[in-house]
Subunit: 244 residues, 2 copies
């Protein structure tokens, strides 16, 4: 499947620009196109598939946007280094995260209750002490080994412990309620393990732990969740991709 002989189905309901984008993305992912390779020009694509130049342009723009290619005016379009391309920083659940690392996630619910918001949450999310949040403390395991302890505080959503146990995924429950997480801020720091946390993670008190605290909001900026997590530092590292 050469670059000017891709599978573009004009009768498909999938937009043409999107088909083109996907096909090129594939060629890059599979290595048939290598970093530094020159892509055909807008004109060549346009003629080869009898599609408008602007339609080609739309596919190209999105590929640039996703980091697959870069373009230089007057010179051409080039395949970028493949390293990043897909994995950017996303709001991700523990389960998704573990699956990305080829580990099997599981969890034990330790606490499931209604509470007033912690101080930190009141300040950041503009809540008062009369508000009620759903608090869930879960021990997180990867391949049956405890790696972290999550304390999640949810705002504006209620469900039963049973529903969480059957659905497994908190994020799916939120989605079913029509709540879409749109953005978040995560703070990462190193702390010494308190006694109770150390015990749960099988560590000595004072061992270094990776602590992350995260606030998440929906599209309109409504506060949805706060999570404070502690991770076994030998078993869990945080990796982020940086750009430009």
């Amino acid at each position: 499947m050469s670059i000017l002989n891709l599978n573009i189905d004009r009768s498909s309901p999938v937009p043409i620009y999107y088909q083109l984008k996907q096909e090129i993305e594939n060629l890059i992912e599979t290595g048939e196109l290598s970093p530094g390779d020159t892509l055909p020009s807008e004109n060549e694509f346009s003629k080869a598939y009898s599609i408008s130049p602007m339609t080609v342009r739309q596919a190209m723009s999105e590929l640039v946007n996703d980091g697959y290619i870069h373009r230089e005016r007057g010179r051409g379009t080039f395949v970028s280094s493949r390293r990043l391309a897909h994995t950017l920083d996303r709001l991700m659940s523990f389960s998704e995260d573990m699956q990305n690392r080829d580990l099997t996630p599981s969890s034990q619910i330790l606490i499931f209750e209604e509470t007033p918001p912690p101080m930190k949450v009141m300040r950041h999310a503009n809540l008062s002490s009369s508000d009620r949040l759903l608090r869930i403390r879960r021990l997180r395991l990867a391949d049956d080994q405890p790696v972290g302890l999550h304390d999640t505080y949810l705002h504006g959503v209620t469900f039963s412990q049973e529903e969480l146990e059957t659905t497994q995924s908190l994020y799916r429950i939120l989605e079913n309620r029509g709540i879409q997480l749109a953005e978040g801020v995560k703070t990462i720091e190193a702390v010494a393990a308190e006694e109770d946390v150390a015990a749960l993670l099988g560590l000595q008190p004072g061992s270094p732990l990776l602590q992350t605290t995260q606030f998440s909001w929906d599209h309109m900026g409504n506060f949805v969740e706060f999570v404070i997590a502690h991770y076994h530092s030998d078993l869990y590292q945080y990796t982020i991709q940086l750009r430009r």
Copy 2:
């Protein structure tokens, strides 16, 4: 300055779509447009400024891309929550980072020498033991207080310690040499302080430290730098913005 009475200068060399984009961005940044507000439709913009709908669309797409607005087919275009909008994860120097936090950065160069690559770098960057890297160890201070220790290994670039001391910024030296960092991967973990590092940061051995290791590459995927850093966990936290 109302939303349909913006400053669009058709004789300016600045592209029209870009002017429109900037003007709307301003309205959002200054708060004249609030999260949830509805923007005029493509049609309205098009007529109000006598520009083609497709030109309006380009401005809108980029605003969506930058997180300022979101669009719903059949419904309209809405201003997004302003929290993120600009600060994404970027390749940033320590100096830039500190300035963003309104602290005054400084540093002391402790080591400046040529070395073969550390094992980890050989593996990740495909170098051999005969390659020579420039190694720089610097103590990093914010408002004259030591917060971190940086060990930087540079590939394919040489300069003198003097030049670094006068220029102050490593990234500026790279830029002057025509080297553009395009992407990087940073790993964050918690470790216990070794004796030497603890002493430099004014801590007890065994204290929890935030350790980050980072690889950076240029546009073509050529390895440029490796940095391993240790931070005083009370004085330095890592914050990242998450999307979607």
